[in-house]
Structures are given as structure tokens and as C-alpha cells.
């Protein structure tokens, strides 16, 4: 049994260029997922995904049910927000979100009533194989599903059956290459069946021919669990043969979409293209489970698994947390109450973002909450040394950039140059900063450079739009002036004509009038500055051509 099992697990030795092997510190790998208690107040920011923010559709004082939609999406790249429990909306105001800026977003505050009455408006779709993919797609949008690996891109957008880009392969990302994080690992062990049904739903939706569940070799129990579950399901589930589990050597940042695709298919996603353009889509295992819940149970996304870890947490573990739960409350359940001299991270230690304090809610992108003592965090920021041109950063960069050069360019504000050296291809994996012996915060420079370039782009667009508006205004003013002048002329002429009429014969003024009309008409197209400028040089040039014509003839 074990033998066949091991044989059926595919092993790949292929790898991507660059990468590092950081200390993994997966101290919570054996900790079963616990369920968080109810906080006294949930805080739900109206934007928890990449894309446009939502608009609240409840008012203060409203009673809401668990799973009820409380903010609707505006625009295409957006998914709604749902209430994580039943209770009362107590206020809607700005509150800090887990964002490096520490800035706030309008948020809906819900006080739980402790009953957890579910909103049953969405019916389960058990026979998803017989359901139109478009309907399933709409369901996923309505359920607020966004990529739970951390990028939180609205999932329904990716799950599109498009005949121009037929999907060959679905890759299920169970890599979890960030140190400390074990939420996907635990989910694969505890919810393998749901994940596999989720895979089947996605395969039906996009028409994928096969699916690969990719897991690194530091999670052998997750590998076995997935494989066993596949075998158990194979009796009731004919399509399970098209799903395979693939074991990959542990390497950071293998979980990054483009790197993983390269490892598994040998194909590179061209710059500026999406994986679907080469017939691949990638989904995180947590998203697959959320898709299962949305379709099979009719439940919107209101909770997620969070790894609470770090050397400052007395009882690290994995926890099922409802969205909107204040982080302070989550940490408290793991024994961390005071935050003096503790660094908080939202996400993993490599790509996670530093939090200013714990008074922010858990959102759809919260895969990990880390609390570290100052001594354990690399205090790189204060002791940046000059680059010694060792080249380590370039060796480990998975997208083959030259990080030391790019950092110099960003530091010296040569942003256009950095852009021409493919700054935007940087996936901000942090491998370069990790290996730099001079403690240069390379990724931070890249984030700065990218932000400045985006800002410059916005300013240029605004300047361009302002210029057009100002030109239209000048045109309009010139036209109005000309029209007024023309009108005045006509009136004056009429007046003169009348005066003339009184004095002399009737025939002559008539003639004058028509002539004047003509001049007014002729002048009209010439109103704007631009056209005048355009017209000006032209009288000069024809003689030139005429003379040359004469000479040649």
C-alpha cells in the first residue's frame, strides 16, 4: 500500500533559477486548527481584495445574519463583503486596515448577538457538474471569494472558460514556501476532501484537462493525506485520475505563481501576460476549500485559516478566524497580550508587511500573524552598508534581475532607468535582501521605486488630461469670442444698412449684407489659436513649391 502510494506521488527535481533556503521555523506544523472565539466587535473594511472598493448596503442599527452581504462590489475587479456572524451594525466609519501605510478604510462594525443565525439565501449547488460554469462563476463572485494565498485577487475573474485561451492544467498551490506559515499545510491535512472537490469544481469551470497539486517535500504528511484522499474518492469520483500530487524540493520562493508554473510545466509566462495565456491557472489550496464551501454549502467567505506564530507568541498555532476579528484578540488567544518591543508582521517573514499595531482586523489576505522579538528580526534597516558587489543578490533572484543596480537606481531617483532594467518584473520575494551581506533593504528600495513610478504615471496622465481640458477651454473661449464678434458685426451691418436704407436706394445694402455674411462664415473655422497657427505658415510655403516647380519645368 505504502509502496504504491509513494510510487504514485510524482517527484519533480526540476527547479527554477535563483531562490534561497531560509530557516523554515514551521513550529506550528503539528498544531491542529483551533477555532477562534467570538470577539465583542467585528470590523469589516469595505475593501479586502485587489481592485475597486465596495459600497456598504447596510445602515447603522440594521440586524444582519451570518453570511449576509453587507457591502456590494462596485466595478468588475471587486467582490462583496459578508457579515461573519449574526448581529447588529453598530457603526460605519473609517478604521485602520492591515496596510503598510497604516491608513484607514471605511469599515462596517458588527456587534455579534451570539446566535450565529445563518443567512440561507444562497442554495447549495450539489450537482455542480451539471451546472453551467457561468452560474458557478457568478456564485463565486457573490460569495466574495478572492485568492487566499495572500494576493486576494477576485477568484471568479480567473475562472473563465475562454476558447481563445483553453486551460490545459490547473495547478493547485500547496507550496507554502514562506517560513513560519503552516495554514495551508494544516488545511491539506484536515480538509483534503473539500480541497479535492474544490479542484473538481474549478476543473469543470475552466475545462482543464488535468490538475497538479504541488506540495514541497517538507510536508510529507500533507502529501500522503492528499494522495490517500484522492484514492478514497476515486471510487465515487471518476475524474480523480486526472488529478495528481506532485512533490517538489523545498525552495523559496517556489510558491510564487510564475516560478511554480515554470517548475511544473517547464513553460515561462511571458512578461506582461497571464498564466492563462499559456494554458495554465494557479489556485491556492485555501481558495479551493473556499470554492467548495461556496458551491456545495452555499456559504460566502467569512472565515479563513491564520497561522499565529513567531518567537514572541507563547502558544503558537493555527486558527480558523472569522474575517473582521481584531488581531489583538487573536494574539490574546495565543497568550500574547502586551506588544512592547514586539514586531508584528502581517503575512510571512519574507513578504509580509510590518504592522504599526495590533488594532487592525483580520482580512481575506491574512495568512499569517507573526510577532517577533526585536532581536530575532534582522535589524537591517539601521545598518545599511555600501554594496560590496558580491553578486549574491543577482544569483538568488528568481527573475534574474540585478538587484544591486536596481537599488542604486531607485536610491538615486533614476526611476526610468530602473524601469528599463525591468524593475516591474520584481516579485518582491525578498530573497535578495535576505542574502545581502551589507544588509541593504533591497526590496524596500524596489517598492519605493515602483511606487514613485506609479505616482509619476498618475501625474503624467493627470497633466495630459488637464492640458486637454485647458486646450478645449481655450478653443471654446476663442470660438465664443469670434461668434460674438460675428453677431455684433451682423447687427452693426443691419444697423448701418437700415441707416443707409433710410438715406439711399434699396438695392445696394442688400448686396453688402450678403458679402458680410460671407466674411463672417469664412472667419468661423479660423477661430482657434491652433488653426491660426496652422494656417499661418502655409501661405509662405506654396511659393517655395511653386518656384521649385517652375525651375524644374
Amino acid at each position: 500500500m505504502l509502496h504504491t502510494l509513494l510510487k504514485s506521488i510524482q517527484k519533480s527535481t526540476r527547479t527554477f533559477s535563483g531562490g534561497i533556503d531560509p530557516e523554515m521555523s514551521k513550529i506550528t506544523a503539528a498544531a491542529a486548527i483551533a477555532t477562534s472565539m467570538q470577539p465583542q466587535l467585528y470590523i469589516l473594511p469595505i475593501k479586502q481584495h485587489i481592485g475597486e472598493a465596495c459600497e456598504p448596503i447596510v445602515s447603522v442599527g440594521d440586524h444582519v445574519k451570518w453570511g449576509q452581504k453587507i457591502a456590494r462590489s462596485q466595478g468588475y475587479v471587486s467582490v462583496p463583503v459578508h457579515s461573519p456572524t449574526s448581529g447588529k451594525v453598530v457603526k460605519i466609519e473609517e478604521h485602520a486596515t492591515p496596510h503598510p501605510s497604516g491608513m484607514g478604510l471605511p469599515s462596517i462594525f458588527i456587534e455579534p448577538d451570539g446566535k450565529d443565525t445563518r443567512d440561507k439565501s444562497l442554495k447549495p449547488i450539489k450537482a455542480y457538474r451539471d451546472t453551467d460554469p457561468t452560474e458557478l462563476r457568478e456564485r463565486l463572485r457573490l460569495c466574495g471569494i478572492a485568492g487566499l494565498g495572500g494576493a486576494v485577487f477576485p477568484t471568479f475573474i480567473k475562472l473563465l472558460k475562454d476558447n481563445r485561451n483553453p486551460i490545459e492544467t490547473l495547478i493547485l498551490n500547496g507550496i507554502e514556501c514562506e517560513p513560519y506559515l503552516t495554514n495551508d499545510h494544516r488545511l491539506m491535512i484536515e480538509k483534503a476532501k473539500e480541497i479535492i472537490i474544490g479542484i473538481d469544481i474549478i476543473m469543470h469551470m475552466v475545462g482543464a484537462k488535468k490538475a497538479i497539486i504541488a506540495i514541497e517535500d517538507n510536508k510529507p504528511n500533507a502529501l500522503e493525506m492528499m494522495q490517500e484522499t484522492l484514492e478514497i474518492l476515486s471510487e465515487s469520483f471518476p475524474d480523480s485520475t486526472r488529478i495528481e500530487v506532485c512533490q517538489l524540493p523545498t525552495r523559496y520562493p517556489q510558491g510564487s505563481e510564475k516560478q511554480l508554473i515554470e517548475v511544473l510545466t517547464g513553460k515561462q509566462v511571458p512578461a506582461g501576460k497571464l498564466p492563462m495565456h499559456i494554458g495554465v491557472i494557479c489556485q491556492n489550496v485555501g481558495t479551493s476549500k473556499a470554492i467548495h464551501d461556496a458551491i456545495i454549502k452555499g456559504r460566502p467567505l467569512t472565515e479563513r485559516i491564520v497561522t499565529v506564530s513567531g518567537d514572541a507568541v507563547p502558544r503558537p498555532g493555527n486558527m480558523r478566524v472569522r474575517l473582521g476579528t481584531p488581531m489583538r484578540f487573536v494574539f490574546a488567544q495565543h497568550g500574547l497580550e502586551t506588544f512592547d518591543h514586539v514586531h508584528l508582521l502581517h503575512g510571512g517573514p519574507m513578504m509580509g508587511e510590518k504592522l504599526k499595531n495590533a488594532d487592525v482586523p483580520v482580512v481575506k489576505s491574512t495568512n499569517g500573524l507573526l510577532a517577533m522579538h526585536s532581536t530575532s528580526m534582522k535589524e537591517a534597516h539601521k545598518s545599511e552598508q555600501p554594496c560590496i558587489r558580491c553578486g549574491h543578490c543577482g544569483v538568488v533572484c528568481p527573475v534574474s534581475l540585478v538587484p544591486n543596480l536596481l537599488a542604486d537606481q531607485c536610491r538615486n531617483k533614476q526611476f526610468e532607468k530602473a524601469e528599463s532594467y525591468d524593475l516591474f518584473d520584481c516579485i518582491e520575494c525578498g530573497a535578495c535582501s535576505y542574502v545581502c551581506p551589507s544588509n541593504i533593504p533591497l526590496v524596500h528600495y524596489f517598492r519605493y521605486g515602483k511606487g514613485q513610478l506609479a505616482q509619476i504615471g498618475r501625474e503624467q496622465n493627470f497633466a495630459h488630461a488637464s492640458k486637454q481640458r485647458s486646450e478645449h477651454r481655450d478653443d471654446r473661449i476663442a470660438r465664443e469670442k469670434e461668434e460674438k464678434a460675428a453677431k455684433r458685426r451682423v447687427v452693426r451691418e443691419k444697423h448701418v444698412a437700415k441707416a443707409d436704407d433710410d438715406k439711399t436706394s434699396a438695392g445696394k445694402p442688400d448686396h453688402d449684407k450678403t458679402a458680410d455674411h460671407k466674411t463672417a462664415d469664412e472667419k468661423k473655422p479660423k477661430t482657434t489659436d491652433k488653426t491660426i497657427q496652422k494656417d499661418k505658415p502655409s501661405p509662405k510655403s506654396p511659393p517655395g513649391k511653386a518656384s521649385s516647380g517652375k525651375v524644374s519645368s
Binding site: H99, L105, K450
Partner: protein
């Protein structure tokens, strides 16, 4: 002698031939307006505020192109625009004396507005809407913050507010390290001894 004649005739023919080609090319590839002024204009922030001493960005661009104005007169453009213009004109950079304020937008206190339409006439980018004797309002996305509408308002009901920063537009600051600071300082020194 015949050599001389044929040579002269041949050169004459060539001359005529190329003259015709050049004349045609001159017509076909004629560049409208002043290309240098247009290039400079495309670098300007188009706020149309007049702080450069010219009635708008286009006149300033023209003045720089013809050498009547210095490269450092655009205040909202700041150092970046100055450097770009200096680069384009091939002249030494100069420090921009006035510091640009934080991005602003105009706001009409609507209950006080008498609907005189004077601010509409003042706005260089058509960012104010309203009809005679009706409230006027500023289209925030279009307002460049040039403050030209404040002065004409007879009842002083236009405020300049600091443009709210959007979460989406937030960007990472430069790392807070000694070397990053050094880079900024060196840049400053460079600018000051070149001007």
C-alpha cells in the same frame, strides 16, 4: 570645354533634382508649431497656475524654448521638471526657489455660493460646474489646485483644501537608512553647486 559644360549641366540637373525633393519633403514632413516648445510643454504639470509668471504652461514652454524664461520657474513641477527641462535644453540645472505646496483642491461652500459664474470663468481646466444663480461645485478629479478661482469669488466661498491621500495611491517611502539619507543629501549638494 565640353567637359566643363557637361559637368556644369550635370551638377545643375542634380541641384534641381534635389531641390525638388527637398521642397517636397519640406511640405510633407513639415513640423507644426515649435517642436521644442511642445516637448517642454509635455514635461510641465499643466496646473496652469501662472506661478511661473506666464499665463499658463504653454506660454511658459514657449518662453523657455525661445530663451526668454529660465528653466526653474515652474513651481508645481519642482526639481524633477526643472531637471528634465534643463536636460532637454542642454543648460545647467538651477534650483527651484519656491517650494511647491502639498497637492490642493478647491472646494465651494455651496450654501454660500451665489451662482455668479465668476469662478467658472477663472478656472483654466473647466473643473467647476454650475449655472447662473445655482450652486457651483468643483469636480475634484479635475481640479489642479491652481487657486485661480479663489480670488474672483465675490463672497469668498471657495476654500483650498489639502487633497486627500487615497490608500490606493499611497506609495512606499525611501528606506529609513543612513545611506538613503546620504543619497538625498548628495543630490542636494549637487544641485546647489551646479546652480
Amino acid at each position: 570645354m565640353t567637359y566643363l559644360l557637361t559637368t556644369t549641366a550635370a551638377f545643375g540637373a542634380f541641384t534641381l533634382f534635389f531641390a525638388v525633393i527637398l521642397a517636397i519633403a519640406g511640405r510633407v514632413f513639415k513640423i507644426e508649431g515649435n517642436p521644442i516648445a511642445d516637448n517642454i510643454e509635455s514635461l510641465l504639470p499643466q496646473t496652469q497656475c501662472g506661478q511661473c509668471g506666464f499665463p499658463g504652461c504653454k506660454p511658459y514652454a514657449g518662453a523657455v524654448a525661445s530663451g526668454e524664461a529660465e528653466v526653474n520657474q515652474c513651481v508645481p513641477g519642482g526639481e524633477r521638471t526643472m531637471l528634465q527641462i534643463a536636460d532637454l535644453m542642454g543648460v545647467e540645472p538651477k534650483t527651484v526657489e519656491d517650494e511647491a505646496t502639498a497637492p490642493m483642491i478647491a472646494f465651494v461652500r455651496e450654501d454660500e455660493c451665489i451662482g455668479c459664474t465668476l469662478c467658472i470663468k477663472a478656472c483654466p481646466v473647466d473643473a467647476i460646474v454650475g449655472a447662473p444663480k445655482q450652486y457651483h461645485t468643483v469636480i475634484t478629479e479635475h481640479c489642479t489646485g491652481c487657486t485661480l478661482c479663489v480670488e474672483p469669488c465675490p463672497v469668498d466661498c471657495i476654500d483650498m483644501l489639502i487633497k486627500p491621500e487615497l490608500l490606493e495611491h499611497w506609495s512606499w517611502p525611501l528606506p529609513d537608512t543612513h545611506r538613503a539619507q546620504l543619497a538625498i543629501e548628495r543630490k542636494g549638494q549637487h544641485a546647489s553647486h551646479t546652480s
